[in-house]
Amino acid sequence: MDGLIRQFRVAYAATNGEQLAETLNPDVQTHSAKLQAIWGRGDSRSMTSDLNFLFHQDQARLSIRLSKEETNGWYAIYTAYWKAVGEILAVEGLRGDAQSSWAKVYVAWKEVTLLTIRGYTNHDFENWTIPCLYVTGRYLRLYAMRADAERALSNDDMAVDDLQDDFDPQVEEHKSLEDCARHLNRIFQTCASDRAPLEESRKWGVYYAVNLLFKTYFKLNSEPLSKNILRVISAGRSDIPPIDKFPKSQQVTFKYYEGVLAFLEENYVEAEKHLEMAWLMCHKGAQRNLELILTYLIPCRLLTTHTLPSAQLLEPFPRLQKLFTPLARAIKKSDLQAFDIALRDGEDEFIKRRVYLTLERGRDIVLRNLLRKVFIAGGFEEAKDGAAPVRRTRIPITEFTAAVQMSSGETIDTDEVECLMANMIYKNLMKGYIAHERGTVVLSKSGAFPGTKV
């Protein structure tokens, strides 16, 4: 405790928020010795008297100025922190025979989180200490997920709200995380609703909180809630500090989620914009994050500008290479069958990443490329009197039917081919019209396949 509070004083004297937040770090992997020292012999009376001494009697030695209110706030937080540390050490098997569970850790850490929030609402905590709020929120989320996983393993009776007509499967699976989301939302509200002048404002915590919320809501599969947050932010944009004033890590995270949300709404132009920003800003060593960004950026590009990823781009990402290269190759070769196979082979992963429904639309591009080949193979009409030669624009449906059958490896009737061609025209991938009765397609003399120089 002594060491902890000393660290607290140093950080406080330096008004260094991140150093201060370090004092609340409960990470067993990196701080095992420190946490054990804090827990000591686990005697709550000696912990209380330590804290009493350090916060109340020993104030003379404090080179820092702490108001009564603040002292009370921090005192309560460290008391709760101490208890949480005890549970954490126990559940990790670092406290002799003591037993605990992630559910208990979650409850204990929730107390730390709530008291920290209270620090801002009731105990005059200043905004430079906001990293503390972030640290508590971050670990609250981790412990909530562990508590949920733990409950899924043990066959405990499910938590049923007896007043419901049916049980709620979502609650059952993510009980702790749903609870956690509510508290993270409180953190968000605490930051976003602060009306102090900007440099004193907790609004500097907004994007930290938002990113935690996004992660949580995505885990809970609740995009609508994420959209709500975006709406709140854009409504208050004028007084929330701009995103580019936040650390890059937060910027990248935010842009990534903003992009994915647009992606899931099929707003690919918007999605591309955000994802590209995330991509450009992301630390080049953050392989995993870069891979995640590309997972959505590549399908975006495929649909917005019909751009395929280069081999060079994919090279550092073997997993993406495996997923996207066969698709890209099929599109280039206008090979319907290869495309269908590539899509089927990657289906589980694509579905998991929620890009399947988007990638599927790449089939239009394959088909467009195929029909374009037929058009080019048709050659030119005989030029009249030295005029520039014109491509043959009246093409029998049967030629297209043959091409589609060859490319897809399936038999297909003319009606379906006409339907597919109608789609191409409808989507502006091909210009012209179908003369059904005559069994021909009449393509535009100029730019029959827009954007492909033909």
């Binding site: 260094n16 009564k68 049923v160 007896d162 049916d166 102090a196 002048p197 597919l420 019209y433």
Partner: protein
């Protein structure tokens, strides 16, 4: 603001809760200030309360904001101390920060520009120290005089105090976030086969709840009645109470699955999508828990349902729920084909699939067949020129007859059909935006009731 005198009379006996809290806070150990004795506090406390009582402001004073007696004593002492050193200063009303905050308001933008590259405050000791030089000195002076105040603007203190007031109910609600856990599921004692559905507002009593043994007979009775009377309102009501009894007793077994499956089928038949969706949500969880039933049938419905509600995320999840083996089963395969046909705009394939739907999937497909016909017509009108035989439309869009197809088109525009010698033609070239607009409207009106 002086309250009527009869109220004053009352004050002697009935102190407001806020005063009691104030007294309590005064003697709370955590609010102890060293050097201020109990007697001093007590006498000061009496003084304060008496003065408020005399002023008649007992009920209007904001006791939550009132400094504690010990704080007042401490402050006075410090002021006395300062007075002997400095020329007398009245308790500063922090003019500096008041001015500052006004300035900040008008110059918010330029200031944030100034800190360009410095980002969040705790990241940058530089920016903060710059700020320090400007605004901290007066604060420091204040600190000397009053340790209880920190370097915050008055404005912020005020805002926070207001928030705190609004936060009144918070403490109690966060100490016990949930009611005491129930001691386990109840066991029903009710022997009646039929029971009206009532939404629960309190924990159910065992005598109102039927045990599984009785519920099984109930289900048989309901199945018979449904076949005989076909009264959906009655049946739905009975099924809801049946489901409720299962839930409150935490019964989750194959019987539970069959109840939800049967209710789901009946709801489908009657087009009650809200109720159907509730059932399918339960079924999904029950199948995932490994309880036996007809997962193939219902997973296929689930896909068709989310096609209807145009819920991409849920559709994605529904596909994620499928095993490789399930994808090869005919109903599921059919539903997946419907989905991909629509995704690729392949109306030809879509309408062929519509003509051959396993189980009760057609009830679901009927929900969106009209809008897909409009989409296909919009498509055709843009691609086919100058006309199409009506028969072609009838066949492609799976109408039962030319007459039905004709009626469908005429409902939107009477000028689009023309009689020829031996057939009728659909003048696609003249349709313009008619079907495009109708399509857009149909897709914007997806009925989402009962959607979770």
């Amino acid at each position: 603001m002086s309250p009527p005198s009869d109220q004053q009379q009352q004050q002697k006996f009935d102190w407001p809760q806020s005063v009691r809290n104030y007294v309590q806070r005064t003697f709370q150990a955590s609010n102890e200030i060293s050097g201020v004795g109990r007697e001093e506090k007590e006498s000061r406390l009496k003084e304060i309360i008496r003065s408020e009582q005399e002023k008649g402001t007992m009920f209007t004073t904001n006791w939550d904001e009132m400094p504690l007696p010990q704080q007042l004593i401490q402050k006075e002492r410090q002021q006395a101390l300062m007075a002997s050193v400095d020329p007398p200063t009245t308790q500063p009303k922090t003019p500096s920060s008041a001015v500052n905050s006004k300035k900040r308001k008008s110059s918010d933008f330029s200031e944030s520009e100034q800190t360009n590259g410095s980002t969040v405050p705790w990241r940058s000791t530089k920016a903060l120290s710059l700020e320090d030089r400007v605004s901290k000195p007066p604060n420091d002076k204040r600190q000397l005089m009053d340790g209880a105040l920190t370097g915050k603007s008055k404005f912020q203190k005020y805002v926070e105090k207001r928030q705190r007031r609004g936060d009144g109910g918070y403490q109690s609600s966060y100490r016990s976030p949930s009611p005491p856990p129930p001691s386990g599921p109840i066991v029903g004692l009710n022997e009646n086969l039929e029971k009206r559905y009532l939404r629960l507002t309190a924990a159910p009593k065992p005598e109102d709840v039927r045990p599984e043994r009785v519920l099984q007979q109930t289900l048989d009775l309901l199945k018979r009645k449904w076949r005989k009377e076909n009264n959906y309102n009655y049946i739905c009501d009975q099924f809801k109470s049946l489901r409720q009894d299962l839930t409150v007793q935490h019964i989750r077994d194959e019987f539970t699955v069959s109840v939800y499956e049967i209710h789901a089928r009946i709801a489908l038949e009657k087009g009650d999508l809200g109720e159907y969706n509730q059932c399918q949500t339960q079924l999904r969880a029950l199948y995932r828990a490994g309880i036996k039933g007809n997962p193939i049938e219902f997973k296929a419905y689930r896909i068709l349902y989310f096609i209807h509600t145009a819920n991409r995320t849920a559709l994605n999840d529904a596909i994620a729920d499928l095993t490789t083996a399930e994808k090869e089963e005919r109903p599921v395969k059919h539903a997946l084909n419907v989905r991909s046909a629509l995704a690729l705009g392949n109306y030809h394939k879509f309408f062929q699939l519509y003509l051959d739907v396993p189980n009760m999937g057609a009830y679901l497909m009927d929900m969106f067949i009209k809008r897909e016909r409009l989409a296909a017509l919009a498509n055709m009108c843009k691609a086919f020129k100058p006309e199409l035989k009506l028969r072609y439309v009838t066949e492609e869009l799976a109408f039962e007859s030319d007459a039905e197809a004709a009626q469908f088109i005429i409902d939107y525009d009477q000028e689009l059909l023309q009689e020829r010698d031996d057939h009728i033609v659909f003048l696609t070239g003249r349709a313009g935006q008619t079907f495009e607009n109708a399509r857009a409207q149909a897709f914007s009106r997806v009925d989402l009731k009962g959607q979770i």
